[in-house]
């Protein structure tokens, strides 16, 4: 089937993907960079120092009024070590953008976006609980899933699950 001759469908996120990325990159040159992504996804990265500023723009002029998701990823052999991955949705178009915020430091710190999207509250608490990422300006940055007195941050890669690995699982795909 020839898909190129079809008119772009309403509600198809891929039609707006390129524009979304282009707009935010043009607004913050040198700060926001485009990232390789699967087809149909708009992904940009930004450093922690500029995250609050970019977030305010995305919420205001960008039109991304809805925070879908926010979570952490740990890359222990990389600087910055952590990513805060924030998925935002523009409900009117509809369009979606994913912002990857590189976070480093001891403890790793990033500005909180709870003032922009109040719904980020629990997501940031979860990222703090699981990765130890400190969100500056968060109204109540406490553990959310683990007990308050818990030591360590379970989703960090250096936190063991405490079970014996089965050997064949750890072969590389070429074996």
């Amino acid at each position: 089937m020839d898909t190129t001759s079809q008119p772009p469908q309403i509600g198809d996120p891929s039609t707006r993907t390129g524009q979304t990325v282009a707009a935010v990159v043009a607004r913050f040159p040198g700060v926001v960079t485009e990232r390789p992504s699967p087809p149909g996804e708009a992904v940009v990265s930004v450093d922690a120092a500029h995250w609050a500023e970019v977030a305010r723009w995305l919420h205001g002029e960008g039109g991304f009024k809805f925070l879908s998701d926010l979570c952490g990823v740990d890359w222990p052999h990389r600087r910055p070590r952590f990513d805060v991955v924030c998925t935002l949705t523009d409900l009117s178009t509809p369009a979606r953008i994913r912002v990857v915020v590189g976070v480093d430091g001891e403890p790793p710190a990033a500005p909180s976006v709870t003032g922009i999207w109040p719904g980020a509250n629990w997501f940031e608490r979860e990222a703090y609980d699981m990765f130890g990422i400190v969100f500056q300006g968060h109204p109540d940055l406490t553990r959310i899933l683990m007990p308050d007195e818990w030591e360590g941050h379970p989703l960090r890669k250096d936190y063991s699950v405490g079970k014996v690995p089965v050997e064949y699982k750890h072969l590389s795909p070429g074996h």
Binding site: S68, W117, L145
Partner: protein, 416 residues
């Protein structure tokens, strides 16, 4: 005969003491009181704990405390192959297991860059839409029970049993099916599946009429739900609420329409909305959603294409059982897939589906190996629970239970 003097002395002492107590206690009688509700409370639907700040009968503040069911499922996924992780994610939101499997599979398939045959996609829609009905039935049953309509409890579970039987017939399990997997579905629909679904579709509209009779027109039900736990559209959006909670505030936002998945765009259905934003509106939206899901299921029955139920690429999908006795190649592929799994190209992807509770998202990261590097599930119950304090502020303490039930949180998904 009692000693008069002793009696008198006791009496005066008591009076003095109580007067003293009364004088000392000069704070008003409607002072704030902190009450703990749960986590072992039947109406909290699992292990949700609420810390309520009360002024007399009025709830002034609520703090939901979660994590009592946290079992580290996201961490556990990092220790499974891509295929095995389905068995973990299906256990998250245990009332909507097909949706968890679907969203995780879609995200993985996006990284793999593989296509799913039309029959596989249609089967996925069939299972998830039936799952939406069965999940809403549990919600109706429990909301009814929490508010005193105990017979609704038995009716809801009675009808759900019909669907559970069908799920068992198709997947082998009543819950946690492990049926939808990256590449398609585990196996084709079994003999007699069409009759089973037709039977359900012929029974259910009549049963829905019974629920309407029992609840919708019931003055007690209306008084306990209308104008209770109200949230407006602006608040719901700001707090990242989705699903029936958001649609009951008048916004026709549905992932199935906005970001269609698995071929859902080819079926006709409407997005039910209400504008009141109260418990009754959320009830009405869910009731209509069950009707819309029936519409979709009917269309799937009429248009189910023939063909493969999964992507037959032997590097992704295990070969059919029958081939294992005939083909050496099939045995090797099977062995490789079971022992080692398949490698997924490096990258990350976020996919969302419209689960019975709202936007269910999966964010997966691969570093090119046979185990997922990171699996994060954006559970709608987790996000929706954040709006509970807004809903319950300045309502009566008796409406607490109605408010919790109307958000329909599943703690397995909240805590993961």
């Amino acid at each position: 005969m009692p000693d008069e003097t002793t009696d008198k002395r006791v009496l005066t002492e008591f009076e003095e003491r109580s007067q003293g107590a009364f004088i000392e206690e000069d704070e008003p009688t409607d002072a704030r009181m902190t009450i703990n509700m749960g986590p072992q409370h039947p109406s909290t639907h699992g292990v949700l704990r609420l810390v309520l700040e009360l002024e007399g009968e009025i709830v002034r503040d609520v703090r939901p405390v979660i994590g009592y069911l946290h079992t580290g499922m996201e961490k556990e996924c990092e220790d499974c192959t891509w295929r095995q992780a389905v068995t973990i994610v299906t256990r998250m939101d245990y009332l909507a297991p097909f949706f968890n499997e679907l969203v995780y599979s879609l995200a993985t398939e996006k990284l793999l860059g593989i296509e799913i045959p039309p029959r596989g996609q249609a089967i996925r829609i069939l299972m998830t839409e039936l799952n939406r009905i069965s999940s809403h039935l549990v919600w109706m049953a429990t909301q009814g029970m929490d508010m005193g309509a105990v017979s609704m409890m038995t009716y809801g579970f009675r009808e759900r049993e019909l669907l559970i039987d069908f799920f068992e017939m198709t997947t082998g399990l009543r819950m946690n099916h492990n049926y939808i997997m990256p590449g398609g579905v585990w196996q084709d629909l079994p003999d007699g599946w069409r009759t089973a679904v037709e039977d359900f579709l012929s029974i259910f509209p009549e049963r829905m009429g019974e629920y309407e009779e029992l609840l919708t027109g019931n003055p007690i039900w209306r008084q306990r739900t209308q104008g209770v736990a109200v949230i407006n559209q602006e608040q719901a959006l700001a707090l990242s609420a989705s699903g029936p909670t958001l649609r009951a505030c008048g916004l026709a936002w549905d992932i199935r329409k906005a970001f269609p998945y698995s071929g859902i765009e080819q079926y006709d259905f409407d997005i039910p909305t209400r504008t009141e934003g109260d418990v009754f509106a959320r009830y009405a939206v869910r009731l209509d959603e069950m009707r819309q899901s029936m519409r979709i299921v009917r269309q799937v029955l009429d248009t189910l294409p023939e063909g493969d139920y999964k992507n037959m690429d032997p590097k992704i999908a295990p070969p059919p059982r029958a081939e294992l006795t005939r083909s050496m190649e099939a045995v090797i592929h099977h062995f490789k897939l079971v022992t080692q799994g398949y490698a997924v190209p490096p990258g990350d992807a976020y996919v969302s589906v419209e689960s019975p509770r709202g936007e269910l998202g999966a964010y997966v990261v691969s570093n090119g190996e046979t185990l997922p590097y990171r699996v994060h599930v954006r559970d709608p119950s987790f996000a929706n629970l954040q709006s509970l304090p807004t809903m319950m502020c300045d309502t009566l303490v008796a409406d607490t239970v109605a408010a919790i039930a109307s958000v329909d949180p599943v703690l397995g998904g909240v805590d993961r």
